[in-house]
Point group: C2
Chain length 331, copies 2
DNA sequence: TACTCATAAGTAAACGTTTACCTAAGCTGA
DNA sequence: TCAGCTTAGGTAAACGTTTACTTATGAGTA
């Protein structure tokens, strides 16, 4: 049986309210001696406040929910860690949910988080567009990262990476290196995310006066396996001297496929990634990629959310992060 | 303002208790019509139970806390995902804490989790030996993974990997391939974990009648950077034809160092990992390693914990997982 | 008729806090 | 002397549920 405020009150010969005031440092009108007695009892009895009871009355939990498609994907691992660190710094903790990119899962998680009284939610990229009615019904402030989102009262912020710009940089870099036939690998063709990136990719070609062969663009998912499989398919059907991948995992998959086919990276085929996950520089052949400041984006998202929660004015913010190319060994 | 049970009660013209009974399916003595009215109101008003209030009275939260050193480490990423999946299957959700291997952090997290009323905790490997008094004081059932732990009432289970056996397998495999001078890279020399692995490593040599050169064993941490640095140091001071690493990240670091030094893997030097993280087969040069059934271990830990929580008999279990060698391209 | 019994629902306390408001005592100053 | 302030602390309601216990109604039975 854990110690409660009442136990302390009884032992100290005061009321529970007094104990509460002292422990919460709202003790302007509490006597020196009483105050000390309470603190030392709290220590002695190893008192830990019951956050559940506290949340029930204050309607604040100091918990932020994070929903991502899959923590196993290194990009999300980093994002989650960044959010967790940032949240902790601001006095919040996080609770994580994996949606696997499935709409029903995501909705279930949202309800779960609401029921558990999280103060805010960060909703991270995936192709699923969350049910606006659900979000509105929850009424919990949230920040949206890298996804199309309906405008709602409880939308605290959007933080997006300039994916169009990132893809543009990647393709331009490759073109600058003399490549003329560049393959493009990305996630679902329907997502706005892929659409924007493809625009950036095309724009880079346009500026260089190069036509994009539709045969070279392959959309599917951001996973390793698709990178592997799509590269094999490309290799079988056409020729190209570089692959512009829209995630580092795609790039990893592509690299493996190239090696399996007896091609050397970057001599026979250059590979560019996207994300700059922390593994990228650690690989046997360090990956050239587009940095998207994962850690920073997590921190920014949390800061925006907490500012919204704590600040009375509740201003919405729209942040977009610029990317940059990181030259390593694969392109 | 979210819908509460009272809102439904008022609209349905019944008491809150009745609504609670219906919604919790303890409605043996509730009229058919009342029941229907309540359910349809719940749907219509989009009722989500307030878990906080519920937990306060039931003293059950259906939440399990997980504390790991660092989610960024792929081994823990997988473990956490495995635990989360397993927990969800059994009606629990998880809440994650990163301790960074720092004792104070871990203790703070433990208190936090207790205050938030988690039903159980899984405490995963790190060299920090948790404060027994703290654990006992919390009184929350926990399972300990891969760490030395004092025996306590609230210890629900221990799940350990047979690290001694794993190291033995790894070294034996390498010896079987003809290697005679094998370097050994592991984490902190003080941890029981490393001690056991070193024993296994030595045992394999003993059986083969090979002496272990102390110069070849290097302990530090399980991270990539140590693998890199230690390999460079080894290369500068002695010779060897294989490296037996006690984590896949160490192996990755070692591989990079070897390549930087112009050595080919496995021709000039073989490398064995340990863990079999999901990245291992996906690398440009798929990593040979020791599989430790990460996913399974997470599931087992959660199952043991939940069995302990749900079962009235509360039997403690001690599980040890066997390892196996996975032959790929680096050894 | 008067009892029991099943059915259907209500009452109220409890979980551990926080907080708005109240009280009581002592002191100050005119 | 007494209104009014300051200081120290108490009272009780509230947060949204759950649950043990109680009540009311009608039907069946002796």
């Amino acid at each position: 049986m854990a110690t409660t405020i009442k136990d302390i009150a009884r032992r100290a010969g005061v009321s529970a309210a007094t104990v509460s005031k002292v422990l919460n440092r709202k003790d302007a009108f509490i006597g020196e001696e009483t105050r000390n007695r309470i603190w030392s009892l709290a220590r002695e009895l190893n008192y830990t406040p019951n956050s559940i009871a506290r949340s029930l009355v204050t309607r604040r939990s100091n918990v932020i929910g994070i929903v991502v498609p899959d923590i196993l994907n290194p990009y999300f691992t980093e994002l989650v860690r960044a959010c967790d660190d940032a949240a902790r710094l601001r006095g919040y903790t996080t609770i994580l949910c994996n949606s696997d990119g499935i709409a029903e899962n995501e909705e279930a998680h949202l309800s779960f988080l609401a029921g558990h009284g999280v103060d805010g939610i960060v909703l991270s990229a995936s192709d699923v567009v969350p049910n606006a009615d659900l979000l509105r019904g929850l009424g919990i402030p949230f920040v949206s990262m890298d996804r199309e989102i309906p405008m709602l009262d409880c939308l605290a912020a959007t933080v997006d990476t300039d994916c169009r710009g990132g893809a543009f940089q990647s393709a331009s870099y490759l073109i600058g290196k003399g490549h003329r036939r560049i393959a493009f690998l990305s996630g679902s063709a329907e997502s706005s995310n892929t659409r924007l990136r493809l625009e950036g990719f095309r724009e880079a070609h346009r500026r260089a006066g190069i036509a994009v062969d539709p045969e070279l663009v392959r959309c599917g998912e951001f996973q390793h396996s698709f990178g592997h499989q799509a590269t094999l398919a490309l290799l079988a059907g056409t020729r190209f001297s570089a692959i512009c991948c829209m995630s580092d995992m795609l790039a990893l998959g592509a690299t493996v496929a190239l090696r399996e086919s007896g091609l050397r990276v970057p001599d026979d085929c250059a590979v560019m990634g996207f994300d700059n996950i922390y593994l990228a520089p650690l690989l046997d052949r360090p990956l050239s990629t587009i940095d998207r400041r994962i850690f920073e984006s997590g921190r920014i998202a949390i800061d925006a959310l907490v500012d919204f929660l704590d600040g009375p004015e509740r201003q919405r913010s729209a942040i977009v992060l610029e990317t940059s190319v990181v030259e390593r060994k694969t392109a």
